[in-house]
């Protein structure tokens, strides 16, 4: 997944909550458990050797239940919480090594943060809230007003700039919170359970808008969430945490297909399989593929032989052209397939979820093609394949 070089590299991050963490740290290195360390030293291990990379323009969801250390992890990235050990590299600058002054400068320009309870300043209007980061950087008034207004427009709050936070609904307040972070034009957005306090419907809207916004603005986003559905909706890679450690990282589909342990398996147990598994995961190699200059008779023979409901037709370069069913082939003799083609639309991209695939299948002839971005044929999915895929997911033993 990490195509470009990592923008953020979190390496061996450890946080021990104690006045003197040294003793606990050496116990931790000696392999003692959290409970043992708590008993021996009274220190709470918040994070334990957490490592992950985030690529430029990626949404990474740090997920876990409460107490898993996910918020601590996020706060260690901009050092709102001081990590005990480990490093956080942002564009090769080790944030953990910065002095007070440099850290302040770094926070001002590189990080935008969005909070669970919005944390808008109640004594400032929306535009003054959005301006805050620019104001403390010393950006001239007119310029910062312009940038703040642009950010307000980006999040769809135009016309609300002179209101106070208390006059806005929760969803609108969080838009303002997002605008406050965006106004800085930071490279990295840190979002701490940003949508958790919102109503489910508004939450879903905001998730979709964030994804759209991210496509446009190409920010690198670290999103902390306790909600697997949210992680899936945001569509990025997931780092699953438990008891201050990373249990598994990868896509939701990876979690489903290869859960690292029972905890992960249980975590994804109630996942909406149709929304996570992609057409690429469910497809198989097609057995009845013909080039478009093949004849109807040849195609019919291959249908009878393989039992496929349709013939998948490709051009010389192997690009998907459409399908032809037995009905159309019968009595067509030596006619070339390209003249009989229909349903050039009976295909889905390999990245499409099963939800989208099902919709296509329901409207077609019982089989659709799976294609790449350039329409080259990757595989096919028939009704039976879909059923088999779903059945396979269910047979995983669940403890």
């Amino acid at each position: 997944m990490t195509q470009s070089r990592p923008r953020i590299r979190v390496n061996g991050l450890t946080k021990i909550f104690a006045d003197r963490p040294e003793a606990a740290l050496s116990l931790l290195k000696a392999g003692q458990s959290r409970a043992e360390i708590l008993k021996a030293t009274g220190a709470v291990v918040g994070l334990q050797d957490v490592s992950f990379d985030i690529a430029e323009g990626e949404i990474l969801v740090v997920m876990g239940l409460s107490g898993s250390g996910k918020s601590t992890c996020l706060r260690c990235i901009n050092r709102l919480i001081e990590p005990t050990a480990g490093s956080v590299l942002v564009d090769d600058v080790d944030v953990t090594k910065l002095g007070e002054r440099e850290l302040m400068e770094f926070r001002r320009t590189r990080f935008g943060m969005v909070f669970q309870q919005f944390a808008l300043f109640p004594h400032r209007t929306i535009v003054k809230n959005v301006e805050y980061g620019l104001e403390i950087q010393g950006v001239p008034t007119a310029q910062r007003r312009d940038r703040a207004m642009a950010a307000i427009e980006t999040v769809g709050l135009k016309g609300w700039d002179q209101h106070y936070p208390s006059q806005l609904s929760g969803g609108m307040q969080q838009r303002a919170g997002l605008a406050r972070a965006l106004a800085l034009d930071p490279d990295v957005l840190l979002m701490d359970e940003a949508f958790s306090a919102l109503d489910p419907l508004i939450r879903r809207d905001m998730q979709a808008e964030l994804v759209a916004l991210q496509k446009r603005l190409k920010k690198t986003i670290v999103f902390v969430s306790h909600d697997l559905d949210e992680a899936i909706a945001l569509g990025g890679r997931i780092v699953l945490m438990k008891d201050g450690r990373v249990v598994q990282q990868g896509s939701a589909a990876d979690f489903l297909a290869n859960p690292a342990d029972d905890y992960v398996r249980r975590f994804v147990e109630h996942i909406d399989v149709l929304g996570v598994v992609t057409a690429g995961d469910a497809m198989r190699t097609p057995s009845a593929v013909k080039p478009w200059h093949a004849t109807a008779a040849e195609a019919l023979a291959s249908l009878t032989q393989t039992g496929e409901p349709v013939v998948t037709v490709v051009c010389h370069e192997g690009r998907f052209q459409g399908t032809v069913d037995a009905e159309a082939l019968k009595g067509a003799g030596e006619t070339q397939l390209r003249l009989l083609l229909s349903d050039a639309d009976a295909c889905v991209p390999a990245s499409a979820t099963l939800n989208e695939t099902v919709a296509k299948l329901a409207g077609g002839r019982g089989e659709i093609a799976v294609i790449d971005a350039d329409r080259s044929l990757r595989g096919v999915i028939a009704n039976a394949d879909l059923v088999a895929t779903l059945a396979r997911r269910r047979t995983h033993p669940v403890q």
Partner: protein
């Protein structure tokens, strides 16, 4: 008991400390006293020389601007009543003393409160001092005030400042320390310096709490100004003091009621201002 424990000479120690301070600093404090005293007198004289109706109308208009028509009307009626009782001069004397003392108390108290909120170590020094200032009987402050500032308004002012300052310090510190932690975190996350955080987030959010402290300081100042009549501060307290010495119950009550009227006027105005600031943010 085989031997007697000697009495700790606490009073003597205090005297020695005061004598030492008087010997070394009274020159400075006397000079300061002369300046402040002249200021207080000049202000009082200026107000008394103006026609009372003009002062009342001007005050009423000011209050109206700051608060509501109701409070302004009440203030105008209250002052007219005091004028009618022939207590105009005494009222102006007391008012000036209260305002001057309050200004000093705020000028000293708010920075101390901020310091106490920012530094835990400073708070540990300030907190017991505040407790002592507030529990010490207020009369006691009058005694050392005299050698430093002489009899009269400035001594009264000094004792009043010491007595009335604690609520401002305490509530300033409290207001800042009570800033919601998520707002402090947000300010930090955007890279605010300590001072930016203080002046752009913590202090503005603390203003309603600080205003409540100011209200209390004004009320305490008024009560102390009355007591300070014993060392020649004059004003409405002076009228009460005169009545006590001559055993004139009627005169005493009249002056007492005048003090109540002045207290209610000042309280309504400051309370309204404090509440109004709270509503702005909510």
């Amino acid at each position: 008991m085989a031997f007697e424990i000697p009495r700790i000479p606490l009073a003597e120690w205090c005297d020695v400390a005061l004598d030492w301070a008087t010997a070394h600093f009274s020159g400075v404090t006397r000079a300061l006293s002369a300046v402040v005293g002249t200021g207080i007198e000049a202000t009082t004289d200026f107000l008394v020389d103006l026609p009372p109706w003009l002062v009342i109308v001007a005050f009423g208009l000011g209050v109206w601007r700051l608060t509501t028509a109701r409070i302004a009307l009440f203030s105008v009626l209250g002052f007219a009543f005091l004028w009618n009782l022939d207590l105009w001069r005494a009222t102006m004397q007391s008012l000036v003393l209260v305002l001057v003392s309050t200004l000093f108390a705020l000028a000293i108290g708010i920075p101390i409160g901020i310091g106490a909120a920012v530094s835990k170590r400073f708070w540990r020094i300030v907190a017991p001092a505040l407790d002592m200032m507030q529990t010490m009987p207020s009369f006691v402050y009058l005694i050392p005030a005299i050698p430093f500032f002489g009899l009269g308004a400035v001594s009264a002012c000094f004792a009043t400042i010491v007595f009335a300052m604690p609520p401002t310090i305490r509530l300033t510190a409290l207001g800042i320390m009570q800033t919601p932690p998520e707002l402090v975190e947000a300010a930090d996350a955007f890279g605010s310096s300590r001072w930016q955080k203080l002046f752009k987030v913590q202090l503005p959010l603390a203003i309603p709490t600080i205003m409540a402290g100011i209200n209390q300081t004004i009320m305490l100042a008024l009560s102390m100004v009355v007591i300070a009549a014993m060392i020649g501060a004059g004003g409405l307290g002076g009228e009460v003091w005169k009545a006590i010495q001559r055993l004139e119950a009627g005169q005493g009550f009249q002056a007492g009621i005048a003090i109540v009227v002045l207290a209610v006027i000042l309280d309504r105005i400051t309370q309204h201002v404090a509440r109004h600031m709270r509503r702005d943010k909510a």
